[in-house]
Each structure stands twice: as C-alpha cells, then as structure tokens.
C-alpha cells in the first residue's frame, strides 16, 4: 500500500470523526426541553440549573458553543462529568483498558474459532463437519452475547469454580489473572462474530478452491498444508478481512452488555450510568472514543487488506 493510499484512508477517517463530533455535539442541542433542567432533576434549585447550564456552555449561541467545544476537544479536553466532577478524559482512560481487553480478546477468539471452523468446513464441503459448523454458526448468530455470557459464567464460574465469575484484573497483575477474568465474557462476546466469520470463511474457501490458480498449484505438486497455507489462506482471507472490519464496531458495542454480566467496570458500564444520569459530557466522550477506536481498527484492516491483496497496493 502506498503512502498516498494510507493518507487518503487517514483523511477519510478524520472526516468520519469530524462528522461524529458534530453529531455528538448535537446530542445536547437535540434534547427536548431544557437539557440543564432535565439533567439537574426535579428537586434542583435554580442555582443548580444555572450551574449546569454554565458548565455545558449553554448560554452562548450554538455556533460559539460548537467552536468552543471543538477547541477543547482538540486539546484533549472532553469536559468534566456533571456528577463525579472528574475529567471525562480521565474517566475514559480508566475504563478503557478493561473494555479494549474484552473486545480485543473477543476478536482473537472470533478469528481463531471462526476462521478455523470456516476453513475446515470449506475444505470438507458437504461432510458432517461442514453441516455441524453451519448449524452452530446459524445458532451462534441468533444468540445474544450477554445470555451466552451468563450461561458460560454459570457453568464455568458458579457451578464449577474454575474461573472467577466477575471482576477484572489489569494485565500488569499478570497474564493469567487478566485472562482468567476475561476469557468467559470475551468468548461470549466473540461467538456471534466467530459465527459470522465462519460463514464467510467457508464461502470464501469454497469460492477459491474452484479457481484456476488452485488447479495450477495442484498441477505443480502443491497439496495439503502447503496448498492451504500458500495459496488458499491468503486468497480466501481477502473478503473475510472486510467482514472483520465491519464486526469491530459491533464487538465494541456488544461489550457494553457483556461487561454488566461479567461485573467488569469498563466503558460500557460507565456509559450506562452516564445515560441513566444524563451525564452528557461522559456520553459524548464515550461515543467519540468509540468512534476513534472503530476508525483506527478500520484503518488497520485497510492496511492488512493491502498487505494480503497485492492488487490493492498499486491501485
């Protein structure tokens, strides 16, 4: 992939983030009625409402509000929580590692399980393995991740106390404590994506297997593992990588509910509390942060895509 292409992708990402920032800003503006009064609640004094209005900068004209908000944003200042009073940036920085860990691990589970199962199913088309994979995948797509998380926790952490049922241990406390807390929620979260990937991988493998270049490779004596690794995987991966990019946002969003089930204080639980309290700065910060992550993931996917598919590199 050329530098020009990377730049173009970056520019597209920045445009998306700008649009998200506008939408996020509009969140407060679109609130029916007076947001300050809503936030302050029914028992608030006039002073409370005035304070909140001041804090949200609602007294200035909209354009000025937006410009000031953007200015703060560019300096990394996302405002302060209306309730805890802590800076939003700090709140997010504290909650992010847990959420990113779950999401990252879920992606890993999804790729290993999904691509693996899809590959086997595609290679053994029409066999019982193929049928089993497709049945499980159909089920996997229909199962809510938080329900799966509950079942897994109930089976592996409550009935059998093999793994901790709730909580989170940061990575610096060691790989196992971190992993042991995350493996169940991450598996639950990644299951639907694994199912989706398995379907796409299978389709892609079937598609590639009948291509003339596979026949050519066989005619050269390539077979078995060699054929799969050198000819099949790369070609079959091209459409699958695109799907993975689309799934990143879904996983990040899905982590909200799974965090609740697993008793992990992450971005999701932070966001839910913020919504219940109408803590607008925190919600705005959360949406913006999610958007940044998704844009970054998609940028990474685009780069991977270019690495896998040489045709994109020169295009």
């Amino acid at each position: 992939m050329t530098a020009g292409m990377v730049l173009r992708r970056l520019a597209a990402g920045v445009l998306v983030l700008w649009l998200v920032s506008v939408l996020t800003f509009l969140l407060v503006q679109l609130t029916p009625g007076d947001p300050a009064e809503l936030i302050a609640g029914e028992n608030a004094t006039v002073e409370d409402v005035a304070r909140i209005r001041e804090q949200l900068g609602l007294n200035a004209p909209v354009v000025e509000q937006y410009l000031r908000w953007c200015g703060d944003l560019l300096r990394g200042d996302l405002g302060d929580s209306l309730f805890s009073g802590r800076s939003v940036a700090e709140t997010i920085a504290q909650a992010a590692p847990a959420t990113l860990s779950i999401t990252g691990l879920a992606i890993a589970v999804a790729v290993v399980v999904g691509v693996g199962a899809g590959l086997v199913a595609g290679l053994k088309q029409g066999s019982w393995v193929d049928r089993a994979v497709s049945t499980v995948a159909t089920l996997g797509i229909a199962m809510p991740s938080f329900w799966v998380a509950m079942l897994l926790i109930s089976a592996f952490a409550l009935s059998n106390r093999w793994l901790p049922a709730t909580g989170y241990a940061p990575l610096r406390e060691g790989l196992w404590p971190w992993l042991s807390h995350l493996i169940l929620p991450a598996t639950a979260l990644g299951l639907a994506t694994a199912a989706e990937l398995a379907r796409h991988t299978r389709g892609s493998v079937c598609d590639v297997l009948v291509r003339p270049y596979i026949r050519t490779a066989r005619a050269r004596g390539a077979s078995g593992f060699w054929l799969v690794r050198r000819h099949l995987l790369r070609n079959a991966a091209i459409p699958v990588v695109t799907v993975l990019g689309l799934q990143a946002g879904r996983l990040l969003g899905g982590s909200i509910v799974v965090e609740v089930v697993a008793g992990i204080t992450g971005l999701g639980t932070t966001a839910i509390n913020a919504v219940l309290q109408r803590d607008y700065p925190v919600i705005q910060g959360y949406v913006l942060f999610s958007a940044v992550i998704v844009v970054l993931v998609n940028l990474a996917v685009d780069l991977t895509y270019g690495w896998i598919n040489p045709k994109v590199r020169v295009a």
């Binding site: 445009l15 998306v16 649009l19 998200v20 939408l23 996020t24 969140l27 679109l30 609130t31 029916p32 159909t138 089920l139 797509i141 229909a142 199962m143 809510p144 938080f146 329900w147 509950m150 079942l151 109930s154 409550l158 009935s159 946002g249 879904r250 996983l251 990040l252 969003g253 899905g254 909200i256 509910v257 609740v260 089930v261 966001a271 839910i272 913020a274 919504v275 219940l276 109408r278 607008y280 919600i283 705005q284 959360y286 949406v287 999610s290 958007a291 998704v294 844009v295 998609n298």
Partner: protein, 287 residues
C-alpha cells in the same frame, strides 16, 4: 447486507410459497405464527396474571400450576413469557418502522437525485454505520430518555443508514434500466416514476433487509431492556426477564434459560426467513 449494489432479480410470482417449500423456513414460519398467535391471545391463554405476585412462593420450581416456575416476586414465568411475546413482536416493528420511514425516502431521494445529495447523505450513513451500534443507541436513549418506545426508536435510527443503503443501491440499479428511461420519456413525473416503477423493484431487497433487521432489533431490545434502558417494570420483555434472572442468579440459576431460549428461537426464526427470502428473491437455490 451486500445486496445493496446488485440489481434486484424480478420477484417471483409466489415468493412466499417458494420460501415455505423449504423445510427450515416452513418450521420458522410456523413458529412465527405461533409466536404472533400467543402474543395476541396472551390474556386468554396465560394461566396467571403476569403481574400477580405470590411473595410466599418465590423462585418456585416447575409445577402444575406454574409450568415454568415463578420469579423473584413469585410471578408466573410462563405467563410473563407469553406477555413478553407481545413486546418481542411489536418492539422490533417500531425499530424497523422508524428505519424504513427514515431510510426509504432518503434512499430513494439520494438514488434518484445523485450528485451532492447522494454524496452528503452517503457520507452521513457511512459515519453512522461506522459507530458501534449499541453505543449510538445508548447516546440516543440519553437524549430521548429510557423506556421501550424510546429505546426502539433509537435502534430504528441506528438501522436507518442500513435501509438507506439498500434502497439507494436498488434505486441506482433500477434507474439504469431502460423502462425507467421510457417512463421519463412518456412524461412520468419523478415522483410518479419512483412510486409506480422504482418502488416495486426495490421491494425485494428491502423485504429481505427488513426481515433480517427484525431479528437484530429483537436482540437490541433484549440488550437495552437487560441493562434497564428498555422496557420498564412491571412490564416484562425477554431481555428484562433475563436481567431479573441475572440478578437472582444465586437463588435460581436456571431462570436464565426460558427467556433466553424464547429469544434465540425468535431471532433464529427471523434470520431463517430472511435468508430464505434472500435466496428466493434473488433467484438462488437453497444452499
């Protein structure tokens, strides 16, 4: 969701019959009929008042009077499941309705007018789609306030770019067809062309998308109700029942099973019908 750019195949005369000829979708359709039936007939067939509490009989197991046991307030789980079926049917309809209401006209407009309108709305749709869906839904619920209707409207807004894309893609593809040109040539107005000629041709991909979105909407409803932003007590949806079951996990570990299975079966039903419709309407054979 890749159906966007391809030209819709002409709708077969009896797509429903073709769909029902497959065993899997026949079963799915039967389940859907059963679900809608029990949602409508819930007051008649439910053995108990879903909100009647029997505090002396909490977390009761399966018995003749409580076929699926009771919950943390001693309410009959089966009756609550049946009443919750009403929400399972109506809540996704709200979301899909909102999505179609926003996405259909916008998609038709962008697909017909092209140019700046298309570029701007396309960008906006891409942006919304690039956000984690549940995160955006949360943000919208923050504005509208919690509650089932608000939550489902939020989900509908999140879905609208998907509908927009499908409609826009189909409109673009149909607009290339010569019969649209001839309609214009004999003096059909743009609006008339859209409603009379374009709409029937995008019905197929839209129908497929809507069916699949029903399942996604139900999952979203369950998620939002589970975390308390959707249906509010004492009403019950399968998602909120799962939430209650989660909170009483130590007292009644199996309470998570019935609402979960109801949820999975219903989502499975929508997905199966959606896949079958897609195959039938695009002229593909059963895979």
């Amino acid at each position: 969701m890749t159906a966007a750019a391809t030209l819709p195949a002409p709708v077969r005369r009896r797509p429903l019959r073709a769909v029902l000829r497959r065993p899997s979708s026949a079963v799915a359709f039967a389940f859907l009929v059963l679900l809608v039936g029990s949602a409508i007939a819930a007051p008649v067939i439910a053995p108990h008042d879903p909100d009647a509490q029997e505090l002396g009989n909490r977390f009761a197991g399966v018995s003749l009077s409580h076929l699926a046991g009771t919950d943390e307030f001693g309410r009959d789980v089966l009756s609550r499941l049946l009443y919750a079926a009403r929400i399972a049917v109506t809540a996704p309809l709200i979301s899909v309705g909102v999505a179609v209401l926003v996405g259909l006209p916008a998609g038709l407009w962008a697909g017909r007018r092209r140019g700046v309108v298309d570029a701007v709305s396309g960008r906006l749709a891409d942006t919304l789609l690039s956000l984690p869906a549940l995160a955006s839904a949360l943000a919208i619920v923050a504005v509208l306030g919690p509650g089932l209707t608000n939550a489902m409207i939020a989900v509908g807004i999140i879905f609208s770019p998907t509908v927009f894309r499908v409609v826009r893609g189909a409109t673009l593809a149909v607009a290339e067809e010569t019969f649209i040109e001839s309609a214009a040539a004999i003096g059909c107005s743009t609006r008339r062309t859209l409603w009379v000629h374009v709409l029937p041709n995008i019905a197929a991909p839209l129908l497929v998308q809507v069916t699949i979105l029903m399942g996604v909407a139900l999952l979203a409803e369950a998620s939002l109700s589970f975390i308390g932003l959707g249906v509010q007590p004492p009403d019950a949806s399968w998602g909120s029942m799962l939430g209650a079951a989660y909170r009483s996990q130590y007292d009644a570990p199996y309470a998570v099973v019935p609402p979960g299975i109801a949820l999975v079966l219903t989502v499975l039903t929508f997905n199966t019908l959606g896949d079958a419709l897609r195959d039938v309407l695009s002229g593909r054979r059963a895979s």
